[in-house]
Each structure stands twice: as structure tokens, then as C-alpha cells.
Amino acid sequence: MSRMPIVAALVGNPNAGKSALFNALTGARQKIANYPGVTVERKAGRLILPTGEPVELVDLPGSYGLGSTSPDEEVTRKVIMGEQTGQAQPDVIVLVLDSSNLEQHLVFAQEVIELGRPTVVALNMVDLAERDGLVIDPAALETALGVPVFATVAVRRRGLAELTAAIGEARDRAQAHEANPRPHVTLPERRMLAHEIANAAIISETAKHRIHARLDKALLHPWAGPPILFALLFVVFQAVFTWATPFADGLEAVVGGLGDAVKATLPDSLFRDLITDGIIAGVGSVVVFLPQIVILFFFILTMEATGYMARAAFLMDRMMAGVGLSGRSFIPLLSSFACAIPGIMATRSITDPKDRLTTILIAPMMTCSARLPVYAVIIAAFIPNNKVGPGIGLQGLVLFALYVAGIVGAMLVALVLRRSVTKGAASGFIMELPKYQLPTVKDLAIGLWQRAWIFLRRAGTMIFTVTIALWILLNFPRAEPGQDQINASVAGTLANGLAVVLEPIGFNRDMSLAIIPAMAAREVAVSSLATTYAVSASDDEDAQAMALGDQLKSRWTLSMALSFLAWFVFAPQCLSTIAVARRETNGWKWPAFMLAYLFALAYLASFATFWTATALGLG
């Protein structure tokens, strides 16, 4: 009979280098899912013992103690204790300690070792400690803790073979002996012991982290720090738009070529139209945004890996405090510029529940990458490519204004919410500022690959399905000769009904039609417009040859286009965001509230934009 595979869990303080160790031990063969009932990410990978036996390695969220204060830490506690549904209790605990933060990390380590579960210790990042002039004796630590200790450097794969072998040995030893919990001690006693153990294990110690101090001196400088942060953010957004262009153009050419190739090979039929107008035009118009998403995540992951993200939170704390939030909300909100889903999931590190809820509610207002397709198409079609100043184009300025509108809207809403529905004690800001580190190419590559894959999977499944469904709804029932196909279709009938409600904000039938399937995801609005105009133009050779931008220009006024843009600043058109908000808040109450207030804001903003633009005579 084959034995159950060994389950091992990586446990440790935040910033102990667990994720880097996890990546080094398991490679890219990782599975990311969620623990049932909570949206804490479950990261698992496979590792092979020298005996050939496979081990399932689980990376648990960083924690400061077993008395949990955040959903993340709660999962760590439950998994260790074997109380987490959907997760077998780990046979072996791999305790990860940061060598240069030994005394601090030994406090939680003692608490875990006390449980008497089979444990091995990875004394991680010994190279960084040595760089700081700190030499530690693993043998002394092993004697003091009573469990095997291995010095490791994840990035250089130092000590990994020994650590892996020890996982198997710890399990074998556990099978031979009963678990023996050690006597519990109080936190102050543990801290005292941690101090003693650390002092006994440290062989030599010179002046401390000079590099960090020097970097922090500049980056956290009261006057220099904030401008450095804003300059960096400016570079990030600049890069997202300029670096991505050649790649996006390349992808666009591939998508166009694919459509032409299908047109050339398949006979003229409704089926061919489904492939070209439906699938290729629809999915293709979304896939071209992959480069921008990858670039934005590249910066976010780099800021996190280097340790700068925590400094950004520190610098932003005072500003966030002004609207009743804390610097911790800055990280989820910044991630929301890529996508609100990882943004909302990143709120798990916010310990204050009211603070966290407010951040979840405003995250959808950050201009996510799914809005870019919509903004880009409309701006290119309606805003002239004029220069309004040295190096400042009108198109870029409009795009910038849309970003600012989202941020200002979010801050105002946070201010109101913190004084009404999410009222509560002033939220605090307590956060460890991790040591600076050079990110490793491998860790970055794994992170980027995971984000890109999530995006492509979404394009391949949900957007694919929605596009086909829309194409069918647009093409059936078939119109009588001489009648407009869209007006005759199911989708057209629905849109004509919705248009009555949306007429006061300047929306025509096609715009109403576009926002229905865009409920699934915002970028679908572009593919819907592309599909709609492709269907309505299919009898007209001249119209068919027109690019989407020219189609829009011939059918919409500037006021209508601006109203459409204003709508997308606020409208919560993303099923995945709503689903994530429901999971994160454990119910429909808050997502329903989010939908209601954001649609109300979108309607008001579009109404004001349309009538202001009309009154100004913008046409």
C-alpha cells in the first residue's frame, strides 16, 4: 500500500524569506488556489525527497504568533493545528527564520516548537546577515531549540538539499515517537528566552545594516521621500503606456492577421462571421492589453520584492489617514491600478476590519487595466492628438484626468464611508519595514507568469464565452431584408429598453448595448462595440473597412463619448470583482452596497459630463 504523500508547511514571520525559499524548493510547479471559505491564497508545490518520495509543500501566510489578528494569520494557525478544512495537518513544519532578525523571529519560533510537532528550522538569508557582519552558529541554535537547524540561502540554493533530507527524517522520527508538547511559557518569558538563545547563537556582530540605514535615510527622508515616491509612480505609469506600445501593436497585428487568414480560408458563412467578428475580434481586442498588465505587475512585484512597497506605505500613511485609512491601504489600492481582484485580495493584510472593508469598497474606483482598452479606444477616436504644452499631449492629459477622477472619487467616498457606514475607532498603522533586498529574476518571473496566466485564462474562458453569447444575441433572430440586424436581434431589443433609462446621460443604443455584456468585464465593452459594428456593417463593404475608431466617430458625438468615459470611471462593471468582494466580506450585503453606490456615482458623473459638455457646445 502506498503511503499518503508527506505534507510539509513553511511557517514563519512575515519577511522571513518564505516565498523565496518556497520558489527555490518547488520551482515553477506551483498550484495557487484559495482555502475554502476564505480568500487567503493557498500556495502549494511539490518537492522530492532523496528517497524519491514526493512531499507536498504548502507556503503559509507570514505570522507573528498563533494568537491571530488577521485572516491571513488565522489560516496559518488553523493549518498548523490541523483545523483548516481542505488542508491535511502538515506532517512536518519547516520553520523559516530570518538570520539577521533572529531574536525577533525566535519568539514565534518557540511558540511553534512548543506544539511538539515534527519541526525543522531553516535559518534563512544567512548571506544577508553575513553582509551585515552577523555570524550565527546553527549548531548552537540547534542545541537551544532542540530541533534540527539548517543555514539556507534560497536564491543560491545553499542548504536546500540538507533541508529537504531533514523533512523526510523529521517525518520518520515522528512516526517512531509520540508527539511531545513542551510546557507553555508566556510571551515575556518567550521574549527573554529568544534574547538569550539569539545571543548564544551569534558568534560575532558588527555595526548593523548600514546599507538599509543609508537607503532609508534618502527614501524615508521627510522632504526627499515623497517626491522620490511620486517620481517613481510617474515612471511606472509612463512605462505602462510607452513600453507596452510596440508589444501591443505586435499583438494587434497578429490578431488582425489571424482574422484575415480565417476570412481567406473559410467560405463566407455565418460560422465564419462567428469566428472573425465574434471570437477573434472580441477576445483579440482584450488580449492586446497583456503587455500593459505585465509591465504594471513587473513594477508592483519589484517594489514588493525590494522592500520599497512598505516604505511607500509609510510615506502615504499620513495622506491616507486624512480620509480615515492607513498606509496599509496604499498597497491594495496601488495593485488595483492593475486589477481590483488582486487589490481586494491584498486587503487581507489590513488588520482593522472597518479599514479593510472601506478599502475593498473603494478599490474598484482605481483605474484598472481593464478600463484601459475602453479609454484608449474612445480617446484615440475623439480627442485630437494636440500638444497642450511641452511634452504634454491632450490625449495623455485626458487619460490622466480619468485616473485622477477615480482617485479623487475614491478618497471622497472613503471620507464619507469612514464617517457613516464604516465608522469606527481611528485605524492604526503598525507595520514592519523589511530589509532592502535585490529581487531575484526567478521570483519575479514566477510572479509575472502567474499574473499573466490569470489574465489570459480570463480572456480564454469568460470573455470568450461572453463574446460568443453576445454575437449570438446580436445575430438572432435574423432581420428581414432592408431591416437593421441589430434592432431586430435579442440584444438590440434589450439595449433599446435600457437606452430609455440611459438617454438622459447621453447614451445611444449601441452604448447601452456595449455596457450590458461589459458587466462581465469592462474591456468587453470594446469587443462588444467591435462586434456590434462588425455585424451592422457586414452588408456594407465601405463600413466594414473602417477601423473601430472611425466607426465610433461617425456615430457618436464628443459629449456622448465623454459621458461614456465618465461612466467607466465609476461603474462597477466586473463580475470577478463583485465575486471577490462577496468572498472577502462573507456575504452579499457589501457587494450589493458597492454595486448600488458605484452605479449611482457613474450615472451622476455621466449626467454631469454630458450636459456640461453639451452646454459648452462641444457637440
Partner: protein, 85 residues
């Protein structure tokens, strides 16, 4: 003197903490980070905007960000440099 009044860069020892002045979860978090009576700390940075908030405190080889509200609950005694070692 409370921690928020400590001059930048001056090493000090936390003499006592008025935990009752803080929210229970935050008290627990500060303790978990080692900010408790007896700990040796240095105030490293202050924010620039109104209120000079937040603060960055060095404790051991770790830097912890916290708000002035928390620092105000901690009584500290500066360590005289000559008395060291």
C-alpha cells in the same frame, strides 16, 4: 518622556506601556513586534506632513512603522551613551 517625544537617533529603553490606551488588537501586534517594556528602541524617522506622523522605530535589527498615537502610550528613558558597554 513618551516615545513620540524622543529626539531622532537617541537610543532609549521602553520603561512602561499604557496598554489600556490602545485598541486590543493593536496592543497585541505591538507586543508581537517586541515593542514592550524593557525593549531598546531608537526613533529613526518621522513623517513630514501635518502631525509628523507616522514614526519609524528601530528595535533590534528591525524597523517598525507606527503612529504617534501608539508612541504616546510608551514611556521611554533615553540611554546615556557612556553608560553603554
Amino acid at each position: 518622556m513618551t516615545l513620540d517625544q524622543l529626539p531622532l537617533g537617541t537610543p532609549a529603553r521602553i520603561a512602561s506601556v499604557d496598554w489600556s490606551a490602545l485598541v486590543a488588537e493593536e496592543a497585541q501586534r505591538l507586543q508581537a513586534l517586541g515593542l514592550d517594556a524593557g525593549a531598546r528602541v531608537t526613533l529613526a524617522y518621522r513623517g513630514v506632513f501635518a502631525g509628523r506622523d507616522p514614526l519609524a522605530v528601530e528595535i533590534g535589527r528591525m524597523t517598525v512603522a507606527l503612529r504617534r498615537v501608539h508612541a504616546r502610550a510608551m514611556i521611554v528613558e533615553p540611554i546615556i551613551e557612556s553608560a553603554r558597554a
